[in-house]
Structure formats: structure tokens, C-alpha cells
Amino acid sequence: MIRSEVLRDIAPVISDQLVVCNIGLPSQELHMIDDQPSNFYMLGTMGLSSSIGLGLAMAQGQKVISIDGDGSVLTNFGTLPTIANNAADNFILLIIDNGSYGSTGDQPTYAGKKTSLTEVAKACGCETVIECAAEDTAETLRAALASDKMTIIVSKCESGNIKVPVIQMDPVVIRDRFMKEVERRNAS
């Protein structure tokens, strides 16, 4: 399974959740597969999906899923200790780990070599870290949502991309639509 197939698989699970989605192809794929006002698409800023998601989780009560990649977690490695030491039980970090920088031409990452993001997350102090096969991502995510515990999921999938259009929505429109949805869910 490649990342776009994982996203297709988890779409029914995350469709009604607040989602912060990583820069590049992951956001473009999610936008194509299942665009929702509850999705915040990153159009830039490599590495910050987990930070934005954690900030959002700490600021309000709804569950938040950050979809991240192995390359972007490596870019913002400092995020893992911050997550561990500021545990928010409404936060799930889903790292789709294909061992490559997919959006830039599938150059290998160190996570696809010697470095285990699962072990790093544990070493940083994250208490619930689950590594799963790509095929089990939807089920693992479903269980994490039901657990009410901050969870880091490392989904090991294959490297590879599909052709997908860029997101043409204006960033302010993405942000405004998302904020209205966050506000609506917290009001009801």
C-alpha cells in the first residue's frame, strides 16, 4: 500500500474529525479523496503538521488528528518531546511512514533506514506509540479515537505517488472554513 491508498482507507474514519494535513501530496490527496471543512490543508511549512495539531488540541476540546510523514517529522524532530511533555488526550499523531520524501521525488529518509520513529517517539516520552502495517491503519486509528488517550501511530507503508491536482483553494478560505467548523463543533 502507498500513502494515497492509506488515505483512501482511513477516509471514512477521519471524515468527521478535525484533521491537520501535511504539506504537499498528502494534503492534495486528502483534498481529492474527501474534502471536508474539518480538514486544514497545509500549503507550505514543512514539518509543522504535528505542532499545529497539538496547539489546536490544547486550545479546544474536540479530537484532532495530525497527518504527518516520516520526512516532515524528521524535519521538526523537536515536536516529539513537546508532544510527550504536553500530553493532550484529544490528540492523535498519524505518521504515514513510507521511508521517503514523497512530494519531492521519493528520496529516501533516514526513517526508512536505521532510524525508527516509533522508538524515537517512545524515547521522547510519548506513552502510547503504535506501529502498524499500512493495511491496519484504519483499524488502529479507530481504536485510538475510541481510547481517549493521546496516541502516536506510525503506519509503515510503501513509497510511491499518484497524480493529483494541486489545491487551488485560497489559504485564508481554508483557514476560515476550518475555524468556523472548529467553532461550530465546540459550540454544539
Binding site: T45, L48, I52, G55, M58, A59, V64, G78, T82, R175
Partner: protein, 165 residues
């Protein structure tokens, strides 16, 4: 009233409930105040761009954020300021220690100080410079301005303002 207390009062008066910090010696007093304030959620960050990501998330979750950091971080946060904070039009007050100004004992800090205002100007970030103790009186108005215009705004605070450190 000490400037640290005036800064904390300004944050509270403007409903800033989420503050992320990367420490600097000059800012130690104000970071301490933030940490011990029950009305502010303080999240120390490992790097300033990470902190700006946390602030973006908090803002979208309905909390007014602020970041406290050193001017040396301007270099590592340019991409985040441009592609996240500015591109999505989010407000972000940045209380920045202006290291490398008069009274600075560490020569290397001057190397970044000479670029600080030029970089902020290049990024079209409204920039205010606190040099005299009384300059803190503008803090409240600067915060209101930040949340009025939905922009990152820089408040540079130099060694003279902090009366040495």
C-alpha cells in the same frame, strides 16, 4: 511596576491565553511570570518555528496566542512566518529579546542584531522597539493592533529596556 508585570498584565488584558516560549536570559523574568500565571497555557517549544506552529493551532482553536523568543530565531522562522502565519493571515505577537544591542557582552549576538530589523522590514512585519522602560506603555496598543490586522508583529526588547541582565 516592573516591566515583567506590565507585560504580563498586557497579555491578560488582551485575552492571550496561549504562550509558547524559547528562552533567552533577557526574557527569563517574563517567561517565569507566564509559567506561573494560571490564566495562561504556557508551552515551552524546542525551536521557534515549532512554537509558531503551536500558536497557529491554538489560534484556530479559538485561543489568542503569543510567542516569546530571541532575535536570533528570526533566521530560522522566516519560512514559517511567510508560509503559515502570513499566508493564512494569522495574528501573532512576537515578544523578542533584541540581543546584540548596547550592553551586549557576547560578540556573536551582534552578528544577528545587525540583520534583525532589516529581515523584519523585508518580511513586512510591523516592528516596535522597546529601549526605554516607559516604552512598555505601548504594549497594550501593539497587542490590540496585532489582533486587529491579523499579522505577525514584532516587539524588540533590548538590554537597556531590561536594564542589563
Amino acid at each position: 511596576m516592573a516591566v515583567e508585570d506590565q507585560i504580563l498584565d498586557g497579555l491578560l488584558a488582551n485575552n492571550i491565553e496561549f504562550v509558547t516560549t524559547v528562552p533567552c536570559k533577557q526574557l527569563a523574568g517574563v517567561i517565569d511570570k507566564v509559567e506561573n500565571c494560571p490564566d495562561i497555557h504556557h508551552v515551552p517549544a524546542n525551536k521557534e518555528d515549532e512554537g509558531m506552529g503551536l500558536c497557529a493551532g491554538a489560534f484556530m482553536g479559538g485561543k489568542r496566542p503569543a510567542i516569546i523568543m530571541q532575535n536570533t530565531a528570526i533566521g530560522v522562522t522566516i519560512n514559517t512566518l511567510v508560509t503559515l502565519t502570513q499566508f493564512y493571515r494569522m495574528p501573532l505577537p512576537m515578544l523578542i529579546s533584541y540581543r546584540g544591542e548596547l550592553g551586549e557582552p557576547v560578540a556573536c549576538q551582534v552578528e544577528m542584531a545587525v540583520h534583525t530589523k532589516a529581515l523584519l522590514a523585508q518580511l513586512h512585519i510591523p516592528t516596535y522597539h522597546f529601549h526605554h522602560e516607559d516604552d512598555v506603555r505601548e504594549f497594550d496598543a501593539i497587542l490590540k493592533h496585532t489582533f486587529m490586522c491579523n499579522k505577525p508583529v514584532a516587539i524588540l526588547t533590548d538590554a537597556a529596556f531590561w536594564k542589563g541582565y
